[in-house]
């Protein structure tokens, strides 16, 4: 192991070009052993690309990488792994059909003469998961059946399973709740104490403050600042470095909801065994109701059930007082409900399709006459939204696959903003979105509400739920433990509620 403080990794002048896009244009990064080095930048700044260069998944067009002052060629993931570089990628790169244990040791299976030692793998996997505070995750379950957060934990476990001296974490906290995040930080501290270096990427600046030592800021594929102190650099300064402008990082003011506003959405006694039970809430026109809770508390399931994508065991959903046929997406869509789902890759995006096609796919009727599409109108409408949401690069014709994670999320959101829904169900709408675009999105959501849309919001960031909603419903293990105005409760109370269900 290296002594803490010595330079472990130096990347200089890294250039990476994709056809038509210069994603990295001379990036420098140096990481010391035993530190948490934070990488900041707007969506599309090139963070993930830099990480992929570092882990051998991409080949740089120029630049040098030195490990322990030795120049290295990382021309395949294997090469990077062999040199002790492990990564948690932004897009969960797991094999859904394999079990948790198998995923953790993928490519590094405990084996003898080529025969895998399942028992050993299970035992070791349990150890690692327990170390991550997730002993409850069953090692024999297929990863595809785990929720996003569980998958994220498996991803972390995999990175830890290799005896790495540098671990790269690309937005590991995007799907985690505060409880999980502090868990993660505990693990990271344990790593750095052993001299392992961690490169940490997140759009949540408060996390940087808590865990980071130094910060490097990327903008448009170039390093604009490096070696900043993670604790002392003012937020304003960081945001200015990232975006080139100063942004008020606050929630827009709430609208007054007239008491006469009609109730649009009613959820009555909704249950699905094993997921949630007896969920009841209603949303009035112009109101934003936030669902708070820990990961796994069943918030996504509730939204999907309201949307008809899952069939409830009991209860029903009413729109304008009329009960919808349960378990039918069509019925919900007809009644004007829209759902921006949680997992963009598997539930929302058509990765190989152009940005504008992704945005208009659930509003096609509006751009068609007699079934024939007006491509021009489609592009116009999509372009307007991508400008508002600051999607980069700006063209609406490139396939969504080529966008950065945060920009993909904006595309998902744009789809539902385009649609004139009466009820909008937003599941983690700002997952992986940078600070600049985040405030745009908040404003948009507010504006929608002001126009009379009933909105249900799920977010793992309690601050976001409280700041944006008019009322909050707190879920714990599939049951609602509190309902009330957002202003009457603070972050700590919510956290106490979700963990114990007793406070207030």
């Amino acid at each position: 192991m290296n002594m803490p403080g010595s330079d472990l990794l130096t990347m200089t002048g890294i250039v990476k070009e994709f056809p038509g896009v210069r994603a990295l244009d001379g990036v420098d990064l140096d990481v010391r052993a035993g530190e948490v080095h934070c990488l900041l930048g707007q969506n599309g700044a090139g963070k993930s690309t830099l990480i992929r260069v570092l882990t051998g998944a991409h080949q740089p067009d120029a630049g040098t990488i030195r490990l322990n002052d030795e120049p290295v060629q990382l021309n395949s993931p294997t090469a990077a792994i062999e040199r002790g570089i492990a990564a948690i990628y932004q897009e969960l790169d797991l094999v859904p059909e394999l079990t948790v244990a198998e995923n953790i040791f993928l490519g590094n299976e405990p084996s003898r003469f080529g025969f895998s030692r399942a028992h050993e793998a299970t035992t070791k996997a349990r150890e690692i998961l327990a170390g991550l505070g997730h002993a409850e995750i069953p090692t024999h379950r297929t990863v595809g059946s785990l929720p996003a957060a569980g998958q994220q934990v498996v991803s972390m476990a995999r990175a830890l399973s290799r005896d790495a001296r540098l671990i790269v974490m690309d937005e590991p906290s995007a799907v985690l709740d505060p409880e999980e995040v502090s868990n993660l930080f505990r693990v990271i501290r344990g790593l750095t104490e052993r001299g392992v270096a961690v490169v940490y990427i997140s759009h949540r600046l408060e996390e940087i403050r808590q865990i980071g030592n130094r910060v490097t800021v990327l903008k448009d594929g170039a390093t604009v600042a490096t070696g900043l102190d993670a604790r002392d650099t003012p937020t304003r300064e960081l945001i200015r470095l990232m975006t080139g402008r100063s942004i008020e990082y606050v929630f827009p003011p709430r609208n007054e909801i007239p008491t006469t506003a009609p109730v649009i959405l009613e959820v009555i006694n909704l249950s699905r065994p094993g997921e949630f039970a007896g969920i009841e809430f209603s949303v009035r026109a112009g109101e934003i109701v936030g669902l708070a809770g820990l990961v796994g508390s069943g918030r996504s399931e509730v939204l999907e059930t309201v949307y008809g994508a899952r069939r409830p065991a009991t209860g029903f959903v009413k729109v304008d007082g009329v009960a919808l046929r349960p378990g039918r997406v069509q019925a919900a869509v007809k009644a004007g409900i829209g759902l921006a789902p949680e997992e963009r890759k598997s539930q929302a995006l058509l990765l190989d399709e152009a940005v504008y096609k992704n945005i208009t796919v659930s509003t096609l009727g509006r751009f068609a006459s007699a079934g024939f599409l007006n491509n021009h109108a489609e592009r116009e409408a999509a372009a307007k939204l991508t400008r508002t949401l600051d999607v980069r690069p700006v063209g609406v014709d490139q396939p969504v696959r080529n966008l950065s994670g945060g920009n993909q999320q904006k595309v998902v959101l744009a789809r539902w903003l385009l649609r004139d829904c009466r009820v909008l169900l937003l599941d983690e709408p700002t997952r992986g979105v940078d600070v600049g675009a985040r405030s745009e999105i908040y404003t948009l959501i507010r504006t929608l509400a002001a126009n009379g849309v009933a909105i249900v919001l799920v977010s793992s960031e309690v601050e976001e739920v409280l700041g944006l909603s008019d009322r909050v419903v707190v879920l714990r293990e599939g049951r609602s433990v509190h309902t009330g105005p957002a202003q009457a409760i603070d972050e700590h109370q919510v956290l106490d509620l979700v963990m114990e269900g007793s406070a207030v």
Binding site: G20, G395, N402
Partner: protein, 345 residues
């Protein structure tokens, strides 16, 4: 399928962020039309050049071009239907059997009698209805019975061919309705009616796939069925429609084959499933769904047909043809990939 193994660098990527509108439009054209199919076009052109060199006097004649087109027409129509099914994330192994069944049903004594007494349109309608009905069964089995498309359509393949044999008593049913043969065997403006039909079907297919909501939804269903469902698309109903479309195309192909051979027979359309899928896939449609191109399919069909024609003109032995075919397919695809990659940089 494992074409996904390609490293991210090789995925066809797109124009620069800051291209001015004019260039962007032409770039878009390049990408969507000629560009994406450039390799295929080159492969076809190379094939034609080989044809001209080795059998110039006969290959480059108008009559030969029409022969190639006529041969391409039947399997071409089937392939257009197949393009829809595959783009929508399915596969249809029963196309050949559906062609056979439709041709047999449309040439039974009863149907022919009706056609002779009134109009040949009865035969055409019968073929189309039979094709669409088989497609409907396929679609229902896949979308609502949740049987994997491969197995559902394999079952249809067995059943439809068996039914065709039962109906025809395994006899070749000769068409005696001359008006039918005259119409479909004839020409319009010097181009055979069959070729016209092919052109029409391909053009209609292109428009539907690229310019309508139906087409757009097909891409969505094939690209990510779950996302499509959550986006509010009626995925099951759409899937059924895709198989009906394929069945309909088989009905049309049956009419064309009836005109070409003046018969209906349970042996018609043998191995069309392989030919059609091959043409579709070589044309650039993804077997895993979500990406499909009618232009590519048409060129794919033309490549295979021209290949056969060149072989025959050169009097090659069938075995040598086989080996050469394998090699040429590989070379053509490699060529196409090279070109696709370089046209993107």
């Amino acid at each position: 399928m494992s074409e996904d193994i390609t490293t991210p660098e090789t995925t066809p990527s797109t124009q620069a962020t800051v291209t001015p509108p004019a260039t962007r439009n032409s770039a878009r054209l390049m990408r969507s039309g000629v560009g994406r199919n450039l390799g295929l076009v080159v492969a076809l052109v190379v094939l034609c050049i080989v044809g001209v060199i080795t059998a110039g006097d006969t290959f480059a004649t108008g009559a030969n071009v029409l022969t190639i087109l006529r041969l391409a027409a039947v399997i071409g129509v089937v392939s257009v239907g197949m393009t829809f099914v595959i783009t929508g994330g399915g596969i249809d192994l029963s196309v050949g059997a559906m062609v056979a069944l439709a041709s047999v049903w449309a040439t039974t004594l009863a149907t022919q009698q009706l056609a002779a007494d009134f109009h040949w349109i009865f035969m055409v309608t019968t073929a189309l209805v039979v094709g669409a009905a088989c497609g409907l069964v396929n679609g229902l089995l896949v979308a609502y019975g949740k049987i994997v498309p491969f197995i559902a359509t394999l079952a249809m393949l067995a059943a439809a061919r068996g039914l065709a044999e039962i109906i025809s008593d395994r006899k070749t049913q000769i068409i005696t309705v001359n008006s039918f043969v005259d119409f479909f065997g004839g020409s319009l403006l010097g181009v055979p009616v069959l070729v016209w039909i092919f052109l029409l079907v391909a053009a209609a297919g292109w428009v539907v796939l690229n310019r309508t909501t139906f087409g757009r939804r097909t891409f969505a269903v094939g690209g990510n069925a779950e996302a499509a469902r959550l986006a509010g698309i009626k995925v099951q109903r759409h899937t059924v429609a895709l198989y009906v479309l394929a069945g309909l195309c088989c009905g049309i192909a049956a009419v064309m084959l009836m005109a070409r051979t003046t018969t209906g027979s349970s042996t018609h359309g043998q191995l069309y499933e392989l030919d059609a899928i091959a043409a579709v896939v070589i044309g650039g449609t993804l077997l895993s769904g979500g990406r499909g191109t009618i232009v590519g399919t048409v060129i794919g069909v033309l490549i295979f047909t021209t290949l056969n024609n060149v072989f025959t003109l050169n009097n090659l032995s069938i075995s040598a043809q086989s080996v050469a075919k394998g090699a040429i397919i590989v070379v053509a695809v490699l060529l196409q990939q090279r070109l696709a990659r370089s046209s993107n940089t």
